[in-house]
């Protein structure tokens, strides 16, 4: 049911865009006004979430330790999985952000046939699909800069060339189109068909998957099936970035559907689990060095404690100490 609700929500959004453009003629609204609103909500929402996270104190080091802690120099420690230096933390964060090391660790418990014992084996499909989807999306977002930048920078052209390297079909199919869509599709199938994962999946797990699949599908159809007017679309995008929104005639309604779903995604990001794109940088279980005992960490909300230091104590009792023959540090 959770999946169904999310699917229906995305289909309603698609219908809203198609009806709005085809029946009500709201091209300028969908293509020239709503994107500004969505982008503003996106930026403000992300800033709001990050500043709220920045207010949370993290008094002590709480990294998840996935290897031997640094103790004595001659005991080999795990520099990346249990880092005690900033360099180690940066290495760990890079591996996590770029290559999803924690997903790579995913294991599956099963009973080995014949042997009556539990065996843990690597389960890497989710890691592979997540890598394909996230990297596919990153590269295809970068590719989309050709619509937003005029003149198109060399580096964008170079990425487009590399992505279409296999020169299959006209217009060429991009590698990342398939990486993105297939990765996403696997992530959806796993929520639908693995019972344990289906049990814990909520509508807000399915909604972004369907939304992104909708964006990917409309994009695919625009490029490879209806072949809508790319120059017209770029003129509209240039209107957006130059703050003079306009509507190009003859652009297919799939384009408005595509951009409407993107707007919904932009508005949805700051208020949903997709904020993991900012949150991954701020995970205290990953971005802290395990140096609890090597460095002094002061709890920021400690109230000021009135202390009586030894020099003060000695000043206080010096005469009495001398009378009693107790050695003092200062005469």
């Amino acid at each position: 049911m959770n999946a169904l609700y999310s699917l229906i929500a995305v289909l309603v959004l698609v219908a809203v865009a198609i009806l709005g453009v085809q029946a009500l003629g709201l091209q300028l609204f969908f293509g020239g006004i709503l994107p500004y609103f969505a982008f503003a909500v996106f930026l403000a929402g992300v800033v709001f979430r990050i500043q709220r996270w920045a207010r949370a104190p993290v008094p002590f080091r709480i990294p998840t330790t996935c290897g031997q802690q640094y103790s004595l120099p001659w005991i080999k420690s795990s520099y990346l999985d249990n880092p005690h230096t900033t360099t180690g933390v940066i290495g760990r964060m890079l591996l996590e952000i770029l290559f999803f090391r924690s997903l790579f660790r995913n294991t599956r418990a099963g009973v080995e046939p014949g042997l009556k014992r539990v065996v843990y084996s690597p389960s890497l499909w989710m890691w592979i699909a997540a890598l394909a989807f996230h990297w596919g999306m990153a590269i295809l977002l970068f590719r989309h800069l050709r619509f937003f930048l005029e003149p198109v920078p060399q580096v964008v052209s170079a990425v487009i060339w590399a992505d279409g390297f296999f020169q299959v079909g006209v217009p060429v199919f991009y590698i990342t189109t398939f990486a993105f869509l297939l990765g996403l599709f696997y992530l959806l199938l796993r929520r639908l068909f693995i019972p344990q994962i289906r049990y814990i999946s909520l509508p807000n797990d399915f909604f972004p998957l369907f939304l992104l699949l909708g964006i990917g599908t409309t994009g695919f159809l625009m490029r490879h099936v209806v072949k809508t007017d790319v120059v017209g679309i770029k003129e509209m995008m240039q209107g957006l970035v130059g703050f003079h929104p306009l509507v190009s005639e003859g652009v297919h309604y799939l384009f408005y559907t595509h951009i409407f779903l993107v707007c919904v995604l932009l508005v949805y990001i700051p208020f949903s689990k997709i904020m993991h794109m900012g949150g991954v940088f701020l995970s205290p279980t990953r971005n802290l060095a395990n140096n609890n005992r090597m460095k002094r960490h002061v709890n920021p909300w400690n109230y000021p404690v009135k202390v009586h230091t030894y020099p003060e104590y000695e000043d206080h009792f010096r005469n009495k100490m001398k009378e009693a023959g107790i050695p003092v540090e200062k005469d």
């Binding site: 996106f42 930026l43 992300v46 800033v47 990050i50 500043q51 996270w53 920045a54 207010r55 949370a56 104190p57 993290v58 800069l145 050709r146 619509f147 937003f148 930048l149 005029e150 003149p151 198109v152 964008v156 052209s157 487009i160 060339w161 020169q167 079909g169 006209v170 217009p171 209806v226 072949k227 809508t228 007017d229 790319v230 120059v231 770029k234 003129e235 240039q238 209107g239 970035v241 130059g242 003079h244 003859g250 900012g278 940088f281 701020l282 920021p300």
Partner: protein, 125 residues
Amino acid sequence: MFYDAGKIFTGLAIFLVGATFPFWYAMAAGKTAYKPEPVFPTSTSQCVESTEQMIAGHMEILDDWRNEVVRRSDREPIEINGTAYPKSLSRGCGNCHADQTQFCDRCHEYAGVSPYCWECHVEGD
């Protein structure tokens, strides 16, 4: 009260600049009002398909022609309204759209498309 404000807000600033980069780029380049204007031939107003179909599907037509000519040796010209068009980029399309830089490249460069036609074809062939 913020903790690690320096690191967090530096990261946030990088994100904001990156996300709004197209706006800054547009301001610096100042070309948002530019529209590509391919030069159409004056000799005739008819192509092998209507303008809309050519905009959407010219790459498919060329791909089909390439496959027919190169792979199946089928050089039978396309006949439309009594005019025969050879299935050739240089000798067919090029008859009317003589200048690649004035016609093809105008839109292709604008849209960031670099088709590999001219890896084999020499312009003006």
